[in-house]
Assembly symmetry: C2
Homo-oligomer: 345 residues x 2
DNA sequence: TCGTTTTTCTAGAACGATTTAGAAGAACGA
DNA sequence: TCGTTCTTCTAAATCGTTCTAGAAAAACGA
């Protein structure tokens, strides 16, 4: 068994371990000749450089920021919105030669303490659409790991990069109200419905803070409308489809459906297609996020600068020069063909 | 300065550090009463559980697998194909409560030794479309980290999950040959052209093993055709656009363009649109991968089961029960409207 | 020439846990 | 009652670095 360590190399060259360490980390602390000799010997011995864990332990820097995602990791990748965030974050991470640690958020065994959030060797964390009271957040706080969330939290000292959810949703609500919609169904991401059949929820049951705020925004802008909240499962096309089916095949059809993400709205769009309903004429449909597919589908939606959001989170986390701790990003209502006047009856 | 460690807790409870460690890791090694007492005291002191780096150092397990991506990380997220791979991999990682470490592949400072690949605390690595002789691969090998590649390597003992690149491309080549195409341009991902103007390359200059193999496959199936290799930059829509512009605006237009990824082909599609060219009639266009957008665009392409590829890589890396080390995945030629008979002149 | 600064290198103590081997006491069967 | 087997807990070594303080040698200024 070899087990070539820094010590091995040091002995082979005939210097102290500190010197070998310096050869790797502080090249200006030793003569070039010696450094070359050390590096050469290291190569010869098959030494792959300082061990990552040991270095992390001693120096206190892991060289990675953690990313905490809603729900299952696999789901995150099926939403271009989440991917866009990641792309922005990755851009900054790359700039600072930092890795991104994607941690699964499995809720089992939290008490025992062997979740990824606890195991993870990270210097900081980006929190993407994680519901307010999630235990993982407490764990992070406990570990003293600086974190930036994509939702405005309750604590005034928490960092975030977010949008004004209420206002953004209100813009959309006004648009729909002006078009005469009074019967509206809001499609949300919800774990309860993940198993099989869609469920109708109350505002309290919604869970995600941002979803709740968006619904409040809609309510604010459409005081005369009846809002129903429905979920067909996690944030995925199929969930939107199921949720919309449930609604469209029921007795009291709404005149408008709002997906709280474009992905959900696109699922609803499929359900409409199957039933021969034309969006914007027979029924209005709107989404949230403005992912690329939304424009192709002619979906009315609320655009958020998601990649910028990712970049901003990255900057706060990694750039010492960045002093901003809380950032409100702009949103924009994008009206397309999927929304139109409510049909008279 | 607090610095609550395992020792602190041990002292507070009045037991040895080992016992506290066991309370977290081996609950059956101590009485339930004591364990509860330890956990309670830990909570009280604000101890967040065993330090990740220290644990990783001592136990030799980091609880994370690294992911090595072509080019810039940010680029990876703009290709649904890469994202699909990640989704499959994440699914398995989640199952094994393992995190995913996305490492930037910046090529600077390789000699010095402070690249992410060296810094990273990982147990294994997934290698996605990294060119054959890349230094990062040597580093991994040196560190003794088990790795699985998405390309068949040269070494017989390297693990991989791949497709038969030559055969897959040959299928497409036959299709085009049958349609009478003799003048073909192949669009490839290439760093040389990243700066600005598109370049025409020889087969030797292509670099990525899989790209090279695909071109060979095309050549094999179209022995009578003249193949030109062109790149407009990295793997992105804009590069495909630039590459196609270069080709379409030149003297000798081809009758068919093959993008070695759908993303590149979609870029070419845009260039065609601008010029009023109808795909499949004025000029044939084909891609590779079959990403979701390809079907929407009517793009002829070669489908690979990318999510399965990710899952398979994950299994080999994480599942001790998996014995398979080398896996060939099936591919399928998907003919859509973007390819048609070569126009006579 | 002699003190002073700079360069180059080293000793030894952390960093915060896990592991191995084994001690002390309780429980057990005869 | 005595030996044996569990159960419960501990002491000490170890993982592979980096860091702090400082020593030895070289270079410098006057």
């Amino acid at each position: 068994m070899p087990g070539v360590t820094l010590k091995t190399v040091a002995k082979a060259v005939g210097v102290s371990p500190s010197t070998v360490s310096n050869a790797y980390n502080k090249p200006d602390q030793l003569s070039t000749a010696l450094r070359e000799r050390i590096l050469a010997t290291a190569r010869e011995l098959g030494y792959a450089g300082p061990d990552a864990s040991a270095r992390a332990l001693r120096s206190g820097k892991a060289g990675a920021v953690g990313v905490l995602f809603t729900d299952k990791l696999a789901y995150a990748f099926s939403d271009p919105y989440a991917v866009g965030f990641l792309a922005g974050l990755a851009e900054v991470a790359e700039e600072f030669a930092t890795s991104l640690l994607l941690m699964p958020l499995s809720s089992t065994d939290i008490a025992g303490g062997s979740t990824a959030v606890q195991q993870a060797a990270i210097d900081a964390a980006a929190i993407f659409c994680v519901p307010g009271g999630h235990p993982a957040l407490d764990i992070l706080a406990n570990r003293g790991i600086p974190a930036v969330s994509t939702d405005r939290g309750d604590h005034p000292d928490l960092s975030w990069v977010a949008i004004d959810e209420v206002e953004a949703a209100a813009q959309l609500g006004e648009h729909l109200a002006r078009l005469g919609h009074r019967e509206v169904v809001v499609l949300v991401d919800n774990a309860q419905a993940a198993g099989g059949r869609p469920v109708e929820l109350t505002l309290d049951e919604v869970g995600y803070t941002d979803c709740e705020l968006r619904i409040r925004g809609l309510q604010k802008a459409m005081p005369d409308a009846r809002l129903r909240i429905v979920s067909g499962g996690h944030n995925a096309i199929a969930s939107g489809l199921r949720g919309a089916e449930f609604v469209l095949d029921s007795q009291n059809r709404p005149t408008a459906i709002v997906g709280l993400s474009d992905i959900l709205a696109l699922g609803a769009l499929e359900a409409m297609k199957v039933r021969g309903l034309t969006p914007g004429r027979d029924l209005s449909l709107a989404g949230f996020d403005d992912i690329p597919a939304a424009s192709a589908a002619g979906l009315t939606t609320v655009r958020q600068p998601i990649k910028d959001k990712g970049r901003a989170v990255g900057r706060i986390l990694l750039d010492p020069a960045s002093t901003e701790r809380q950032l409100l990003m702009p949103t924009q209502l994008i009206v397309r063909s999927s929304s139109g006047p409510a049909p008279k009856h």
